[in-house]
Symmetry: C2
Subunit: 148 residues, 2 copies
Amino acid sequence: MELKTKKRDKDTEEFRLILNSHSQKITKPRIKILKILKSNNKPLTIAEISEKLTDRKIDLATIYRTMNLFEELRIVNQIDFKDEFKRYELIYDRHHHHHIVCRKCRKVENVEPCLLDNIEHYLKDKGYTEVTHSLEFFGICSECGSKN
Amino acid sequence: MELKTKKRDKDTEEFRLILNSHSQKITKPRIKILKILKSNNKPLTIAEISEKLTDRKIDLATIYRTMNLFEELRIVNQIDFKDEFKRYELIYDRHHHHHIVCRKCRKVENVEPCLLDNIEHYLKDKGYTEVTHSLEFFGICSECGSKN
DNA sequence: ATGGATGCAAATGATTTGCATGAAG
DNA sequence: CTTCATGCAAATCATTTGCATCCAT
């Protein structure tokens, strides 16, 4: 309880600084959404974010607007798992990584090594600036594979 | 004209074989859509496919159903450029490549080298099967960059 | 005070679906 | 002939938008 409160305050402080550095207003919905994103280790859909708001619900329109803002500010990354939902993940404090998604059970794991810096350099040589990339893997995980 | 007809017939023959090998019926809409995908070098949206149907229009519902079928059969790849539209590209006859999309003008170029086989092996070692990946790059192209 | 964020309701727009008809094997 | 694809219209559902109100600065 004591620990939890401490951690919460520390995160809040961090999020206030981030919003401030982008000249954005510090509001309850924004802080709450950032906390939910931080406490989850996988990309979340809008619906999942909404469900995790246990206390007071935030309007869906607000969540959509907030995520669009965060994406523009590059606070979150929009990730496509080739289903019908867009997913979002915090990027400000994580080292760059990717995902492997099971085509059957939709389980998500992180893929740590990022070996794409050389390709990004190649593109920069071609004249592109602000180069980023989006990389996701898809497969059948061992549990789903053995169940056939 | 003669050449064009020849080429058309050759493609048609190829597409008939592909559909046949998946026990799928050979229909005019399917052949037409495959031809459009083949004669374009970049991933197309449903709307773009529809526009390119100059002679007789195919119903949008049919295009959607066809693309969903082709995706399941792995005849096309669904590609996400982080805008509001899904895009589709033929995969059966191309060597694996990726894209670089300009964030401003949305120009698309191919990125040829694919250096990800080592990561796919790593994932297979972890127990995943049928591993594929989806990789797109985003940046500002030199024209858009100089225009500022 | 005041500009921007939120909530609510309504609109939008891509995608899906039900059903009758038509074409493929 | 029988199954399945197509066209059309209607439905669905994620996402956006307009507007009045509220809150952060």
